[in-house]
Amino acid sequence: MTPSLLYAFAGAGLCGIGMFGFIQLRHLLRKLLAFNLIGSGTFLVLVGLAQHGQGPDAVPQALVLTGIVVSIAATALAIVLIRRYFHLSGHTSLEADDSDSGQGGAE
């Protein structure tokens, strides 16, 4: 057991917490927070596990940097979509009451 591995386990925990929130929560912004928690957990697992045996490893660190940028891009995009969705519909969750008419309908 090394500190790195401890963080990897913490990452696993974060993934679980995030996963629960992602499924359970309705509010889109909260879902997004949960997704970010899963992301952080995954990154911790990636680096923590790789550095467990052999000390600092630049490759997973670079991967995590890439991953962070990708996930901020996704998060920011999601926020823009959520805001516009709220702006037009007044809903903050997908399971809105008009879902029966929401199937298709537009071209």
Partner: protein, 232 residues
């Protein structure tokens, strides 16, 4: 009953996930990795053109990842500004007449600009680089915008789109030129590695900052009209 089930099922599922993950982490930690990538990396560092291993991986060994990652950022930016209906950037709603913010602005913005420059410069040898510098630069812009300083270049227009694409375009150009000169896509010609990496990092810093700022600005705050509602 249904409510309870709706809570317990995800709870059980995520607990199972954690347990399984923990077990596999424990199992993996017990064995040595058959490939020692850090050692390989250390052996090739002198060919990479920079002294900082993370930068070497990001912009040389795995530069294709970085190229695609910037593409992802640009996509997010494009979709962001496609949603944007900001009629005017000098919207009163956005201007915060907070004295604290004003003070923050006066002191922070020069400092942050300095920090961004340092991070960019440090990237080749020490922790730092385009992403961090770009993020700090974007933070600067956010502060300026919150303070009501009109950032004209963020108006959805050609200038903004040039800004979004510039870093990516330069990166891509370097990639394809090196493919023409050398043997493979993104294989920098020998001797040119360091200047090329520095160039890419500099333009990327600006582009990253632009994208992030565009996404912040493009949040549809003050538009009432739904554009072309569901027709084609």
């Amino acid at each position: 009953m249904k409510r309870i089930l709706a809570v317990t099922l995800p709870l059980l599922a995520s607990m199972a996930l954690v347990l399984l993950l923990g077990a596999s982490l424990w199992s993996i930690a017990g064995s040595q990795t058959p490939v020692n990538l850090p050692e390989l990396l250390a052996g090739k560092m002198n060919e990479s053109g920079v002294n900082h291993p993370v930068t070497a991986v990001l912009l040389n060994f795995r530069s294709y990842d970085t190229l695609l990652e910037i593409a992802v950022l640009v996509i997010a930016g494009i979709t962001g500004i496609s949603m944007a209906r900001t009629a005017s950037l000098e919207d009163p709603e956005l201007r915060t007449s907070d004295s604290l913010l004003y003070a923050l602005q006066r002191w922070f913005i020069p400092l942050m600009l300095l920090l961004a420059g340092y991070l960019l410069w440090a990237g080749a040898d020490r922790p730092g680089g385009a992403f961090q510098a770009g993020a700090v630069l974007a933070g600067c812009g956010v502060l300026m915008r919150l303070g009501g300083i009109p950032l004209g270049f963020l108006r959805p227009g050609l200038l903004l789109r040039v800004g979004l694409g510039l870093g990516f375009a330069v990166f891509l150009l370097v990639a394809v030129l090196s493919a023409m000169a050398g043997e493979a896509f993104l294989a920098y010609p020998p001797g040119m590695t360091k200047p090329l990496i520095i160039t890419i990092e500099t333009v990327l810093t600006f582009s990253i900052a632009m994208v992030l700022l565009a996404l912040f600005v493009s949040a549809p705050v003050n538009d009432a009209g739904a554009p072309g509602e569901d027709d084609s």
